[in-house]
């Protein structure tokens, strides 16, 4: 019987865990950017968060394949889980590249991008709380905040990129390194915006 009528899965509990990992990963990234001492040790911590988040995402996908009835559309659950996982992967990729590139000191722009990214994940957390409470008006408000953050991060990214070519006029290797890291941060922010867009779609279906 258990196979035919499986226990209802609480996807919100799983999303809560995923988003907690996204907040923790971006917070650890920010703390690493602000204080680059013991970078290797801090990076290991972020890698561990990324690994834990992976397990949760696999769990979501596994349960999605075994469940008939879901609180929100299957494709939306799949997309949300993928995008949140992407945010964490990109936070890790950013740290990883700093080690691979043997960076010794983050740029001021990198610190600011990490700070804004962490702030954005907090809005994602709040948007999901409102979604679980079925307070769709507030979900929409937080989605607007996430979009606003994405615009802000994009502006910082563009200025940072332009400045890079001025500052490292004679050190193309440095341009390549930071361009790669900035792009990871900006892509993470894009994934946050994707989450907001999916949430707006869910709200519309329930309107």
């Amino acid at each position: 019987m258990k196979k035919i009528f499986p226990r209802r899965i609480d996807f919100f509990v799983l999303f809560d865990q995923s988003i907690a990992h996204a907040m923790a990963a971006t917070e650890a990234l920010l703390s690493l950017m602000e204080n680059f001492e013991n970078a290797e040790g801090k990076a290991k911590q972020i890698h561990e968060i990324e690994h834990q988040a992976d397990l949760v995402t696999h769990d979501v996908m596994r349960k999605l394949n075994q469940t008939f009835i879901t609180p929100i559309d299957r494709e939306d659950i799949h997309e949300l889980a993928t995008r949140i996982d992407d945010i964490i992967d990109l936070a890790w990729a950013c740290v990883d590249k700093m080690l691979v590139f043997r960076i010794t000191r983050p740029t001021r722009d990198a610190v600011q991008l990490a700070r804004e990214l962490h702030e954005t994940t907090k809005f994602i957390h709040r948007a999901f709380q409102e979604l679980e409470a079925k307070d769709y008006e507030h979900v929409k408000e937080y989605c607007i905040e996430i979009n606003r953050m994405e615009n802000r991060i994009d502006r910082i990214f563009r200025t940072a990129l332009g400045d890079l070519f001025e500052e490292y006029r004679n050190d193309a290797a440095m341009i390549i390194k930071w361009k790669t890291i900035y792009e990871h941060l900006e892509e993470a922010s894009d994934k946050c915006e994707d989450v907001a867009n999916i949430l707006e779609g869910i709200v519309l279906k329930h309107a």
Copy 2:
């Protein structure tokens, strides 16, 4: 009652608008490439087109969530809207990067890539007109043209990329800048090909 039986949405009208924006954006990009004077002013124009196109895409997605019956499969509408939006985003990203990188003069290859990209969007426009007229044979013909253009753009892109490393042998920063811009143009062309592939799929389902 209006909620239960919503007015039938004319997705073709929305796609017409979207594609008009794609044609306008790539035309403005080409005109900027051909004459780089007042680049900032022209860039603002393209950014405005990109913004208007975003609103149309959001409109498509919103109406898709509220409509039961669609003239073509829901996923196809979703994919088409996304890909057309991507073309416009990439045209804008291309202009944006030229400003961010403080480019003062486009390369000859960049002008040609922009020209071919604009031509491709015209074929997309025609393919959609034939789709609306249910003239599936002509849809297929325009899809072949779009694929032909993509091949041509890819060839130009490859030559341009190779030449970059010869021409700017001693200016790696310049290589990075133009490689990024060329890649945006080539990716925009890939999105045009995606549109053609989705259209071919739609034609098959109606065969």
Copy 3:
């Protein structure tokens, strides 16, 4: 009648062809890396494989649009065909970039990445054989192997990337070239992992 009850399509036969092309493309890539003589001729061979693989993928998509009953879920067939095609496209992109960049001698890391990538495609082949035989336990085992290979390739990629900046400290153009090629190889490996993840999902649905 044929239109209403089309002959059942054997998607496994098509996937067999696709995967055979993926194995052939990565094997030819490896052989090119190991012996770079007559690179142009060998590249043409890989391009031809890529073209043949494209035809098979188009065939899968066409038949998917015309078939009501499929042995595995439609979306899974679509995703698998897309990902396997991506692997072949990226193997070709890698070769293509070596010609475009006028590379004269592959790095040791590039050879090793190509070798591991080819090994991974063999595991994909075996996983599909077990899937067709409905031996789901063995499918899972091969998926674990594919994931293990992806981890290994990722480690090689990271070391190779870091070494690039040391070795070509004064030749940024060379860093750009090899970074691009390594990224294609690493992305191909990511696509292999995607295939494994989709296969694991299919196994779960049949559990």
